[in-house]
């Protein structure tokens, strides 16, 4: 495809299981990945809870979709920006998040981290520098 590549940002601000937003966002990201755009994901406010490790939904009768984030690298979705202040406000640090990696085919398939912790100022710049922003 030779169409113009646009910068898409998916903004995630909701915790994973109380509402359907987080799962819907992930579904849209996976569907959108077929269109070969320049995709970034932002996780801020309660959205940072989407990426925590150790989620187990057996007893609440809904699908645990947290392992699906690990598949994003295979869809060339490799930029997951997490806001530092949102983590800190919730007593979390990067260690509480899943380890997500992608394989860089230009670098002998080396595994590289997908999660990038940025501060609020950098998050604002990221949001400003897009062609399309979809917020969930």
């Amino acid at each position: 495809m030779s169409e113009t590549v646009k910068k898409f940002l998916y903004v995630n601000r909701k915790a994973p299981y109380g509402t359907i937003y987080a799962l819907e966002s992930l579904e849209v990201v996976l569907i959108g990945a077929a269109f070969d755009q320049d995709v970034s994901l932002a996780f801020l406010d309660d959205g940072v809870f989407q990426l925590t490790k150790g989620q187990d939904t057996k007893e609440i009768g809904v699908k645990n979709f947290s392992p699906t984030y690990r598949a994003l690298g295979d869809y060339e979705v490799t930029k997951l920006y997490v806001e530092k202040e949102s983590l800190a406000e919730r007593g979390l640090s990067a260690d509480d998040l899943q380890e997500l990696v992608w394989e860089d085919e230009d670098d002998d398939y080396a595994e590289k981290p997908s999660i990038r912790i940025i501060d609020r100022t950098e998050m604002a710049k990221l949001m400003a520098n897009q062609d399309v922003v979809l917020s969930f």
């Binding site: 801020l44 604002a124 710049k125 949001m127 520098n129 917020s135 969930f136």
Partner: protein, 102 residues
Amino acid sequence: MSTLHTVNKSPFETSTLKSCLEHVSDGDTILLIEDGVYGAMAGSSMADLVTAKTKAVSIIALAPDMQARGIDEDRLIKGINTTDYAGFVDLAAKNDLSHAWL
């Protein structure tokens, strides 16, 4: 590059307006729609936070949503303007990017 941000939730129910205010860039526009218009009212616990941004950012409330909720223009924080649906369309067209906060 400038962005039109829309906020449609009351700031007393969700942190959406607060987060929006913390992530806008200078020269952007925030349009308060639906229950978001409650964030435009003077004298609330949100008013200082909103007022502080009125210099760097254009903050606008959608008049039909204010009227529906019985909010007169004289109840608004100083520096906040109002617009109608046609103005909403103009704002969407004028800005490079729209960010509909949920």
